[in-house]
């Protein structure tokens, strides 16, 4: 039974935007009880389509044609009052950012009860009872406490469960989920996906699921729509689209997904003196709270980490948010001074040196950062960004500029980029500049901190290729920090798994991913979306041979 049908929907952006239409002639239907995924990269118009269903387009953005038929009515023709009675009741929506999706000043229970109030249902007392039931249903422990809690007292995953509880309160026929798991850790993501799947089954509601992640699509979608620059390029049953894509864009996207590839032979760990040697590294943060009697909050971000990095080797540090992996990286690069422990590079302990001594050794470890938008000074030309370091280490301007041009060629950018500003480049190009900057001082070790996490999947693959290529050509030694095991499996020789500041597992890639020794690593592996799809792909390949 078709619940909702979208025909030739177009959405116009305000004047002066980079294109006229955010969404152009999009058509699809949503059947009762199915999960339909709209997948695409940033700017593909997938979120706009979802917002149009709810009548919640951002200011200045308006629908420019087509129909959205639901229950015999065109949603685009409804008045605001008519939409009000629909929202939250017939069609519900959940969003990407669970941390900011709840009013910080209101108790959870009141925020859930509001849904009933908005539609004049139930009495205050029964609203509370229903809220308790809902919290139970979305799997929140101890609903009695949660109902009185404020959002800041809950974790991201718990908040997303609350948002889902609110969306389900009036048993809507359609749930619109706009990237609901993107901001969550991979294990939490798996739990939320399970929850959505389970609720769909129990209630027979239809889900319109917006995502950029084909792994997620493979795990939950019945049908899928692929969007590119506002247009639908491919649509069909999930398995068909994922296994036999027909449109080149879909194919490119699918090819770019890093798989869990740990079958290749890792490079033989060269014996001998390690280039970087870390012993018992610990870091503790103390934050003072504003209260007078309040104790300072102590966070032991990194606890007793030890490992050796050989020349030419890449060690991956993986873990969820809060595992201390980034803190560890910053301690190694001496952006932070570790609390205790030893960091030796080429035999020299740099863990606690200061001033002139630190300056002398600093250039030996360089970093590539996560966010291509905040890692380049918006007010400096690329040339300045690349030469600042060389000049600080005594190069004259002319030779520094010559070297910068060389570096740009090395990362496949044109040397004319020197005269331009960061905002003139795309995310992937900026990340190339970031890599060139890290290489400028000819470091012995490069630390890549989530260096591809902020990039769209197709760009991600290009940057990973570049890193692999540079690593071979320049015989770089690298620490690769990431939350994504799939990415780690593409570039690393050995893997360190971190949990709450501790190293829980350390070994060759094949061993850690193929035969994990701890429950935690296993749970990380289990949570990776799209594994069933990978198996199907492998089977397909085998059959083809």
């Amino acid at each position: 039974m078709t619940l909702l049908s979208v025909d030739d929907l177009s959405i116009a952006l305000p004047k002066g935007a980079d294109r006229e239409l955010a969404v152009k002639d999009v058509s699809f239907t949503l059947e009762k009880g199915e999960i339909l995924c709209i997948v695409g990269e940033s700017g593909s118009g997938k979120s706009m389509s979802a917002n149009a269903l709810m009548g919640l387009l951002p200011e200045g953005v308006r629908s420019a044609g087509g129909t959205i038929m639901f229950g015999g009515r065109n949603l685009l023709d409804l008045s605001e009052t008519e939409m009000l009675s629909l929202r939250g009741c017939e069609i519900s929506m959940i969003f990407q950012e669970p941390l900011s999706a709840l009013n910080p000043l209101m108790r959870i229970g009141d925020q859930i009860a509001e849904v009933f109030e908005a539609h004049d249902l139930l009495t205050p007392r029964t609203r509370r009872a229903r809220a308790l039931e809902l919290l139970q249903e979305v799997g929140l422990p101890d609903p009695e406490t949660t109902i009185r809690a404020y959002p800041f007292q809950l974790s991201g995953g718990q908040r997303q469960r609350v948002v889902i509880a609110m969306a389900l309160a009036l048993e809507p026929q359609i749930l619109v989920a706009d990237e609901p798991t993107t901001a969550l850790d991979v294990t939490t993501q798996a739990q939320i996906l399970d929850l959505i799947e389970e609720l769909r089954r129990k209630r027979g509601m239809a889900v319109l699921f917006i995502t950029h992640d084909f792994g997620v699509v493979a795990d939950i979608a019945d049908r899928v729509i692929v969007m590119q620059s506002g247009e639908v390029v491919e649509a069909g049953v999930a398995d068909t689209v994922l296994l036999t894509p027909t449109h080149p864009y879909t194919r490119a996207l699918l090819d770019a997904i890093p798989g869990l590839a740990f079958t290749g032979t890792p490079r033989a760990a060269t014996e001998g003196k390690p280039i970087l040697s870390v012993r018992d590294l610990s870091m503790t943060f103390r934050t003072r709270t504003s209260g007078f009697f309040a104790k300072p909050r102590v966070v032991r971000a990194v606890k007793d980490v030890s490992f050796d990095l050989q020349k030419g080797e890449t060690i991956g540090i993986v873990g969820e948010s809060g595992s201390g992996k980034s803190t560890l990286g910053r301690c190694l690069a001496r952006l932070l001074t570790p609390e205790k422990g030893v960091v030796k590079i080429g035999g020299q302990d740099i863990s606690h040196i200061k001033g002139r001594a630190l300056h002398a050794h600093r250039r030996r470890i360089q970093m590539v950062f996560q966010d291509p938008f905040s890692s380049l000074n918006p007010r400096a030309r690329i040339g300045t960004i690349l030469t600042d370091g060389l000049i600080a280490y005594g190069s004259d301007k002319a030779s520094a500029r010559a070297r910068a041009a060389e570096l740009l060629t090395l990362v496949d950018l044109d040397p004319s980029a020197m005269e331009r500003y960061p905002h003139e480049f795309s995310g992937g190009q900026r990340q190339r500049v970031g890599i060139a900057r890290a290489l400028a001082l000819e470091p012995e070790v490069i630390i890549a901190d989530e260096a591809v996490s902020a990039l769209d999947v197709s760009i991600q693959a290009q940057v990973l290729d570049l890193l692999a290529d540079l690593k071979d050509r320049l015989n770089l030694s690298m620490i690769f920090i990431t939350h994504d095991l799939r990415v780690a499996s593409q570039v690393c020789d050995r893997i360190i798994v971190m949990q709450r500041g501790e190293m829980v597992e350390f070994g060759p890639l094949v061993q850690v991913l193929g035969d994990p020794q701890t429950v935690y690593t296993q749970s990380l592996l289990d949570a990776i979306p799209g594994k069933a799809h990978e198996k199907a792909l492998a089977a397909q390949k085998e059959a083809a041979l």
Binding site: G88, C89, L102, N103, P104, L105, M106, F152
Partner: protein, 323 residues
Amino acid sequence: MLGFIAARLVKAVFILLAILVLNFVLIHAAPGDPAAVMAGEAGAADEKFLQDLRERFGLDQPFAMQLWTYMRGAVQLDLGYSYRQQMPVAELIWDRLPATLLLTATAFVISIVLGVTAGVLAAQAQGTWWDTLISAVALIFYATPLFWVALMASLLFSVVLGWLPGFGYQTIGANYTGLDRVLDVGKHLILPASTLGLFFTAIYMRMTRASMLEVSRLDFVKTARAKGLRNSVIQRRHVLRNALLPVITLAGLQAGQIVGGAVLTETVFAWPGIGRLMFEAISQRDYNVILGVFFISAAMVLLFNLVTDILYGIVDPRIRIAT
């Protein structure tokens, strides 16, 4: 929450002590004999009085000792003696303080109520002529000197129209009692309090408007809309409450300006508060009174700040519960 308040109290005490040190330093930094500075304009006091002062404050003793003597006195609310007025400064201030408290508190309430209301109206009517009008009026008030508004208001409403009394605290010689007296004081209060509040009304209005618009863009407002809540409910329950947090902070910061502004308003309207006292002391170079009023007005500001801090704690659960 208690810890939070205690921390603020301790801080307030330290600031008061620091102001005393500043006062002491200023007396000694002023050109001329500190005793003469304390006594008022050089030559106004006789030699015996100066000698008294030197002994009492140990002005021939080491600097640290002098500071100690001064602080010990001040902590016991001994703010020195006004030679000009032949009265202890503390007593002078004590007599005038209620009038100033009444004036500043009224102005404070007027400006917050009017400012927040106008700000909410403007934000909700964003982009319409109604918003433009409110914003333009606020902009003009924001650019108008307090004392000039006071002068013009007294000219218009008191001299020309004769609607309201233009000076003083109550009708001289009327000797009202009970409700009549309250009404009489209230009538005298209207002009000074509203002109003092006007400038701050403009500030609160601009702040509330900006804050409302800022909060309207946050994710939880989108969640609220997805629930199917009516816009009026969203504005009141979700937007306004969150938007008021920065306004409360600002209200605390502006309290100091209101107390400072009282000097101007009280001068124009001959309102018998400590601001007027300060103005008189300026022309007589009566330093003890000036410094005393300065100290007490700082204490008033700290009091206003404490109230807004507690208010903030009540509104924001993150402070109420987490500290």
